[in-house]
Amino acid sequence: MSMVRANGIALHVEEVPPIGAHRGTVVLIHGMTSDSMASWFLTLAHPLSEAGMRVLLYDLRGHGRSARPESGYRLADFVDDLEALLAHWGTDGPVYLFGNSFGGTVAFAYAARHPAAVAGIATIESAPPTGEWFARMARRLARAAETLADADAVAASRPLVARRMRAASDLLAQTSIGEELPASDLPDPAALATIDCPVLCLYGGESAVKELATATERLLPQSKHVVVPGQKHTLLIKAPDQVRAEVLPWLATHVH
């Protein structure tokens, strides 16, 4: 495990070097509460390194093996962390940002701050930081807090699900993420509209997140949207083959 101190906090990072010629750099950003870098590491780290990418991964603050401060969970804190990590990694030139769920939102928010530093954005079940998306996240966080009481009942029959619920419950119980994140100051829509890099957005056909696609298309007309039928919000970990089949050819058309 590699721990890095960035933006005043200890963050767990991993790196997978490119195989063959170095063609670009990609940062993989995971989702909120029960997620960690593992969902990316197991699904795309190797295929991306085979495509010549330097692959950089980290656990968001409060998640995985990164430190979990009691507070400091506004959107801007997550973007500051990414900014500090990119400085630590010393990337040369624009980077690709891949984000799962909330990780995609961090990617868009970073790109709104530094449009020229981002070569492309690929998201799974995500949206830019808009009021509508944050209202959905707030409801999701509130619902997660409510279902925590059921974790013990689930534990007996479905230990892995219970483990994920517990990871989420610890974060919600030990930190102020549930209050702070929904109350974040959001980027000006005009700043989001300055994102002019290629954007690929994947959605599960059975997930409500795809309802946000139209708003994202309006905000970012260059974005490409793909719905994977039959999948829910867990698209990345449940259908990694389909995710790879969309993301890798898209990347190949943009990496030179």
Binding site: M1, E15, P17, A38, S39, F41, L42, H46, G64
Partner: protein
């Protein structure tokens, strides 16, 4: 492969696992048959966090991302320590010795 090489790699990997497990790792008996999740209580993120330690020990000779590629967050926990040890031994056998 030679048995002493397997034993050496197992000892290296057991050391890495103990440091991932922290205080819980001191008493854990780690053999080739030990499973990451059921025997050591490791979650997928704990297994993934071996990446940096393996890189520090073996450099690029051992491609850990390839080893776990295609496993899902559940099946990675079902891996046995011996599968990782054998993979490391096979990977090292493919590169010329440098020491």
């Amino acid at each position: 492969m030679p048995l002493d090489q397997t034993a050496t790699i197992l000892a290296d990997v057991a050391g890495m696992l103990r440091s991932v497990l922290g205080d819980f790792g001191d008493d854990a008996e780690i053999t080739m048959d030990t499973t990451f999740r059921d025997d050591l209580g490791m979650e997928s993120i704990d297994v993934v966090s071996l990446a940096g330690r393996l890189q520090a020990r073996y450099g690029t000779a051992v491609n850990f991302a390839l080893f776990v590629s295609g496993l899902d967050v559940e099946s990675v926990g079902e891996l046995r320590v011996g599968q990782l040890v054998d993979y490391i031994a096979d990977s090292l056998a493919k590169v010329p010795a440098t020491s």
